[in-house]
């Protein structure tokens, strides 16, 4: 995910930049599974993002929790906790796939 910010893929050319706090963000990228311990904190982060907001699930872990579905510490997939707009499958997805996923999310707004 960080790869998108670095010289090769540089998403700033699309006007996308990383912000230090969810309060400044418009798009929330989720990259992993949410377990029993972090589910509350995760919901909190989502609520902190000001409206209108978009959620992009990056990677299969965020989409469906792939192998960790059976774990004792797993509760439910991300899209059952918060609404997810765009899914980017891949393990891990190529940076190009992430970029096009975010662009798709932006198109949804229009």
């Amino acid at each position: 995910m960080l790869d998108c910010l670095t010289p090769r893929h540089d998403v700033e050319r699309f006007g996308i930049t990383l912000v230090g706090s969810p309060r400044h963000a418009d798009i929330l990228l989720v990259s992993g599974i949410v377990n029993r311990q972090s589910i509350e904190k995760f919901r909190h982060v989502y609520e902190e993002v000001p409206k209108p907001k978009l959620v992009v699930a990056v990677g299969v872990c965020a989409c469906s929790a792939d192998m960790f579905r059976d774990s004792y510490n797993f509760v439910k997939p991300v899209d059952e906790i918060i609404p997810v707009d765009v899914y980017v499958p891949g393990c891990p997805p190529k940076p190009e796939a992430i970029i096009s996923g975010i662009i798709k999310a932006l198109e949804k707004i229009k």
Binding site: N35, R36, Q37, Y72, N73
Partner: protein
């Protein structure tokens, strides 16, 4: 003097040694003597404490202390059995400070109480995890009868 001879000379009958290959040595030792053996390996022979593994073998909890000898590349695993249901084990944190986290982990995952540990708190499991449920325990025949779906 080789590593195995040195350990054998020191402890004699107290330990049972199994050498699976040149670099993998397993020592089985009674619960009371485990600390002495690990202390000797760590302090006197200069081994590095690599990790401890807790295994539920249905009648007891097996704890293996893996000690790595970096000079000759051997790994000595000290095996000891903590019989059920009274799962108590002396803590090793006073001789090996690095054992703090792994003892916390074994405590929450398998329910072994390390007597004398400075803070047996949750390490990995969530704060709202049910007390008395230990994820790494194996199914026993009794528990399977009681709740078969589990």
């Amino acid at each position: 003097m080789s590593l195995t001879e040195q350990i054998k000379n020191k402890f004699g009958d107290k330990i049972e040694m199994l050498q699976r290959s040149k670099k993998r040595i397993y020592i089985t030792v009674a619960k009371e003597n485990a600390k002495e053996v690990v202390r000797y390996l760590f302090s006197d022979m200069g081994a590095r404490f690599s990790i401890a593994t807790g295994i539920d073998n249905r009648t007891a909890i097996e704890i293996l202390y893996h000690m790595a000898f970096d000079k000759n590349g051997a790994v000595v695993s000290v095996r000891t059995l903590v019989p059920k249901p009274e799962l108590k084990m002396p803590t090793f944190t006073d001789i090996i400070p690095a054992a703090e986290w792994i003892e916390r982990e074994i405590h929450e995952m398998l329910g072994v109480e390390f007597v004398g540990h400075p803070g047996l708190e949750r390490l990995l499991l969530p704060d709202d995890w049910e007390e008395g449920v230990y994820p790494y325990r194996k199914k026993t025949f009794e528990s399977e009868k009681e709740n078969p779906e589990r």
